[in-house]
């Protein structure tokens, strides 16, 4: 029983790591630009598929490095050509735009790479378990956790100490003031959007090694990411981090006791949080609402 519980807690943490990467990207874009990026799952899937295509030529590590960057370039193009028209408008329009983009992304990946899932093999030394006792803990799973931790750590440090990071945080609170202080908000938003999609692409590559690639792999992660943001508190990146880990573990643990409810449990958590603490665990009142 404890082994089973440990297995599912570790599963939950791995899934939580994906939720966190995905939700942090969504959160960055939502906080600065007020846009819910429905196409975020599409960016994630694209990251996975690019790695799947690139890995045979450049190897796993190079694919892990390149794919998210390529995804970020696409994010940059999408922001430049379409998204930035939406900022002055009602949030409804950006929602519909990204919603349509999500359709196009999913259908395009299906058209290019086929509708059925494909296995994505990681190097053999990564696929091996760490020890015979902890048979479920492969090196690859450890790698996911390590990379997620490093990237999230770097992101938080950058937001705290670099000039662009401080501008992004300030823009979350009061974009007008940031703009009148002479910051190029247009460029800041573009950079921020690309950063968010980079995180999605990275999550996509990591997820590909774990579960393989398929066209809907990102769409399935989108809703839990929303829940992570709401549970953690809209407007708070540490909240998103906490929310992602919490719902990941909650889903993992529920799998042990009541498998059928493992998807529903995160929504119950969200309802509870909204009832008891409407702003979310670490959220501030009044942001974006």
């Amino acid at each position: 029983m404890t082994d089973l519980l440990l297995l599912n807690v570790s599963n939950g943490l791995i899934i939580g790591a994906f939720y966190v990467l995905m939700a942090l990207g969504l959160s960055l874009i939502l906080n600065l630009s007020g846009v819910i990026n429905f196409a975020h799952g599409g960016f994630l899937a694209l990251g996975g598929y690019l790695a799947y295509t690139l890995a045979p030529y450049v190897g796993f590590w190079m694919a892990l490095f390149l794919s998210p960057l390529l995804v970020a370039v696409l994010g940059l193009i999408v922001e430049r050509t379409m998204m930035h028209h939406m900022y002055r408008r009602d949030p409804l329009y950006s929602l519909l735009l990204t919603f349509g983009l999500a359709f196009i992304f999913e259908d395009s990946t299906r058209a290019i790479w086929g509708a059925s899932g494909k296995p994505f093999s990681v190097p053999a030394y990564l696929a091996n378990p760490v020890s015979s006792k902890l048979f479920f803990l492969t090196h690859y799973r450890l790698l996911i956790v390590v990379i997620a931790t490093l990237v999230v750590g770097a992101l938080f440090l950058a937001l705290r100490y670099t000039r662009e990071g401080i501008r992004i945080r300030a823009g979350t609170l009061d974009l007008d003031t940031v703009s009148s202080l002479g910051v190029n908000v247009r460029r800041l938003r573009t950079f921020n959007f690309a950063l968010g999609t980079y995180l999605a692409g990275l999550a996509g590559v990591l997820a590909a090694g774990q579960i393989g690639v398929e066209p809907t792999m990102g769409a399935g992660l989108l809703m839990p990411s929303f829940v992570a943001i709401i549970v953690g508190g809209v407007g708070s990146l540490p909240g998103t981090l906490l929310g992602g880990l919490l719902i990941g573990v909650a889903a993992g643990v529920t799998t042990v006791f009541w498998p059928a409810a493992s998807e529903a449990v995160i929504y119950v958590m969200m309802a509870l949080v909204l009832l008891v603490r409407p702003r979310g665990l670490l959220g501030e009142e009044g942001l974006l609402s």
Binding site: M86, G100, M270, P278, S289
Partner: protein
């Protein structure tokens, strides 16, 4: 001006109903089929119900697919297990969606804007997973079947809506008339005017002493009730319900119908639903990559056509024809 506006309204109303009532006589001649017309009427009711909230109260719900689906499942389950009366099943399904909407509405009514949209989407997924997982009741991924709409029995006459597609269309149209009529009357009542006031300037309305949360909750509940009614009709149309009806994709489709038609116009969503359903029917027969085209419709509508068909018309004439909405642009006055 007032009289001219009233006359205009009557002309529009007469034209819309003339078109709807005569549909069975011309639809087949322009290449349509009866079920297509019925689908337009059903989805138009759903879109107009959501627009009650979106266009006239100014609250962005992106989770109305859930209530559409709940109405469908409720009606289907009632017909399968509880009753042989089609209207009774429809009422039960509608109540299921409406009650769920009222309960969840109370939980989220304090949120606004993007936040509100996000919470409505996420909660909608609860019902999707329930329908997906509870296969013993709902049929799971395969969907709910094993029910069929039943003929209506009147004293001395039986209306066989089960096999006569045209009769069923008129049954749907009757329900459509009740639903849209009720919403139209509500919007012209003091309650409806208050909703418009909240849409135009929530802060000012609050200072006037209007209980905002209560009004938005009522608008949300009414809107989900009629969306569920439309969902019930959809289940009757297909004699089938599946989990995708509850999904957020369904919500997105209903929203795009509103935007295509024009969200500041009462009949706009009807036009949008007609355009969307016909396009969907045509394109999905034409190409495998239907989803890309659907996505392109979303993107193009948002980038180049944000006011919708009827919105363009309203912008072309003077704002006086529609006193409630003096040509408001797509930009929201309070977006941050």
């Amino acid at each position: 001006m007032r009289i001219a506006g009233d006359r205009r309204r009557w002309i529009v109303l007469a034209a819309v109903w003339l078109l709807l009532l005569t549909t069975p006589f011309w639809l087949l001649h322009v290449g349509g089929y009866m079920a297509l017309g019925t689908r337009v009427a059903v989805l138009a009711l759903a879109a107009m119900s959501l627009n009650f909230l979106l266009g006239f109260t100014g609250v962005l719900s992106f989770g109305h697919g859930a209530y559409f689906g709940l109405g469908a499942y409720g009606t289907g389950l009632a017909l399968k297990f509880l009753t042989h009366s089609t209207p009774l099943a429809l009422v039960l399904g509608t109540l299921l969606g409406g009650v769920a909407g009222a309960l969840l509405g109370a939980l989220i009514v304090r949120r606004r804007g993007v936040y509100f949209a996000m919470v409505t989407i996420a909660f909608g997924q609860v019902f999707y997973f329930t329908a997906f997982r509870w296969s013993s009741l709902t049929g799971g991924d395969d969907g709910l079947n094993g029910f069929a709409r039943q003929p209506l029995h009147f004293p001395g006459w039986t209306a066989d809506i089960a096999s006569d597609a045209t009769l069923f269309y008129y049954f749907v149209l009757l329900v459509f008339a009740i639903g849209t009529g009720a919403m139209g009357l509500l919007l012209r009542s003091p309650f409806g005017r208050t909703l418009l006031a909240i849409r135009e300037n929530e802060r000012r309305a609050r200072f006037l002493g209007i209980p905002i949360e209560q009004h938005i909750w009522l608008a949300f509940s009414i809107s989900t009730l009629f969306t569920a009614l439309a969902g019930g009709l959809y289940a009757l149309l297909n004699n089938f319900a599946d989990p995708t009806l509850l999904n957020y994709n369904q919500s997105g489709e209903i929203v795009i119908m509103i935007v295509l038609g024009g969200m500041r116009s009462f009949w706009g969503p009807l036009v949008g639903a007609a355009v969307f359903v016909v396009l969907q029917d045509y394109l999905s027969s034409l190409t495998q990559n239907w989803m890309s085209f659907l996505g392109a419709i979303f993107v193009l509508a948002v980038l180049f056509f944000p006011r919708g068909v009827l919105g363009m018309r309203l912008a072309g004439t003077s704002g006086a024809a529609k006193p409630a909405a003096p040509a408001p642009g797509p930009a929201s006055p309070s977006s941050s």
